[in-house]
Structures are given as structure tokens and as C-alpha cells.
């Protein structure tokens, strides 16, 4: 079955810097990969979807890359702000039928 690895250690960065989070998967390359944001005590919120034929996707200060050779996606937040502090989850389609497998997430803390 598909296994997803995200860095379990929190990432601490200073305001204004670029945060880069990593998502690695182990088996077959999915047709697409998604990134979600989760705040404490809340449900995840969808941020971006990138398809296997797309190398890069951008949305405002967010950028996602997808390298099917490395089996890796990188999630960047440029000009980070304290309000970007949250846990970020990546998710892959698995088994067909809309099921997603989620990584355990990486906690990002943006400090003043």
C-alpha cells in the first residue's frame, strides 16, 4: 500500500523567510497530489492540487512541485507570516474511488 512520509519534526522559521515542506511517497506515482492546512482543533482545509503532468503549481504565496522520479512533492510558502503557522498535510489518491491517503503532517511555526 502507499506510504507517505512527512517530516514529523516541527519546522520553525522566521517571518519573511520561505518555508519548504517535504512529502515523500513510496509506491506508485499517483495521478495527483494534494496539500491541506490544519489548524489546532479544526478539520483540514484544501490548499492546492497538482497533477502528475504538472511540475509546478502556484497560488498566491504558495508553490507546490511534484517530481514523480524522486517520488516527492515540495510545498513552499514564500514571505511567511505568523498566520501561516499550522500543520500541513499532503494527500495522495489511493485505490481509486476518491479515497485519499494522508501523511501525518508537518507543523510549521513562523516566528516574529
Amino acid at each position: 500500500s502507499q506510504k507517505i512520509e512527512q517530516n514529523s519534526e516541527a519546522l520553525n522559521i522566521q517571518e519573511g523567510k520561505t518555508a519548504t515542506l517535504t512529502c515523500n511517497y513510496t509506491n506508485y506515482s499517483p495521478a495527483y497530489l494534494q496539500w491541506y492546512r490544519q489548524d489546532p482543533g479544526r478539520g483540514p482545509v484544501f490548499l492546492l492540487l497538482i497533477r502528475e503532468n504538472e511540475k509546478e503549481k502556484r497560488k498566491e504565496r504558495l508553490k507546490v512541485t511534484f517530481d514523480t522520479t524522486l517520488k516527492q512533492s515540495l510545498f513552499h510558502i514564500t514571505a511567511s507570516q505568523p498566520t501561516d503557522s499550522a500543520t500541513y498535510l499532503c494527500a495522495l489518491a489511493t485505490g481509486g474511488g476518491n479515497k485519499l491517503t494522508f501523511g501525518t503532517g508537518t507543523q510549521l511555526k513562523v516566528e516574529l
Binding site: 495527483y32 482543533g41 479544526r42 483540514p44 474511488g97 476518491n98 479515497k99
Partner: protein, 114 residues
């Protein structure tokens, strides 16, 4: 905007009780999901449903059942609650595959079983 609501934000139950968690979505989505989320384990799929009266087991269905009598409502049932079912429960909905598989989540129910 898609709205997914869950019946309770916090719930405390006793071991052996039957527990119902309700989820309602207002965007006419075919697919609905129930997950539990525990520290270090991430989101784990319990059950999902493609359509009314249809259900399929996820990765950890033991101790749970579900009901989907109406398209907008998906219920998770703990037949006899146990302490190891203390967790955050999250409901989600999505459109059918081929369109977009983005899942829209509810706010979660934090269940404590004593």
C-alpha cells in the same frame, strides 16, 4: 462554499455506550468519509460512502458502523464505545472521481470515552 457540519464539537461518553456521530454536507456531494485522527498516526479512514445506502470499509473499520439514508447525511456509530476509541473524528465529503477529489472537512468531534 461547501459546508460540512458535525453534530458535536466535544463529546464525553462512558465505556459500553452506543455513540452516534452525525455529519451533514450541503453541496450535494456523492462521496462522504469518516476519519479518526490521533497524534503521530495522522488521519485514518474508517468508512466511506459513494452514494445513499452504499458504504465501504476503510483501513480501520473494526468497532464502527455507518449509515447513509440520505445523500447529505453520513452517520458514524460506535456500537459499544471503548477507551481506545477516544480520538478526534473528522467527516469529509467530495465530488465523484474524475472531477476533483478534493475533500471538504467538517470541524471535527473530539470524543472522550471514559
Amino acid at each position: 462554499d461547501v459546508k460540512v457540519t458535525q453534530s458535536s464539537r466535544y463529546l464525553v461518553k462512558r465505556t459500553g455506550e452506543k455513540v452516534f456521530l452525525e455529519c451533514v454536507q450541503d453541496m450535494d456531494h456523492e462521496n462522504m468519509f469518516w476519519y479518526r485522527q490521533d497524534p503521530g498516526l495522522g488521519l485514518r479512514l474508517i468508512y466511506f460512502s459513494y452514494d445513499v445506502k452504499m458504504k465501504e470499509k476503510g483501513d480501520i473499520p473494526e468497532g464502527y458502523s455507518v449509515s447513509r439514508e440520505k445523500k447529505e447525511r453520513f452517520s458514524l456509530i460506535l456500537e459499544s464505545a471503548s477507551t481506545n476509541q477516544t480520538s478526534m473524528y473528522l467527516c469529509a465529503s467530495s465530488l465523484p472521481s474524475g472531477l476533483t477529489d478534493t475533500q471538504y472537512f467538517g470541524p471535527g468531534t473530539r470524543l472522550t470515552v471514559l
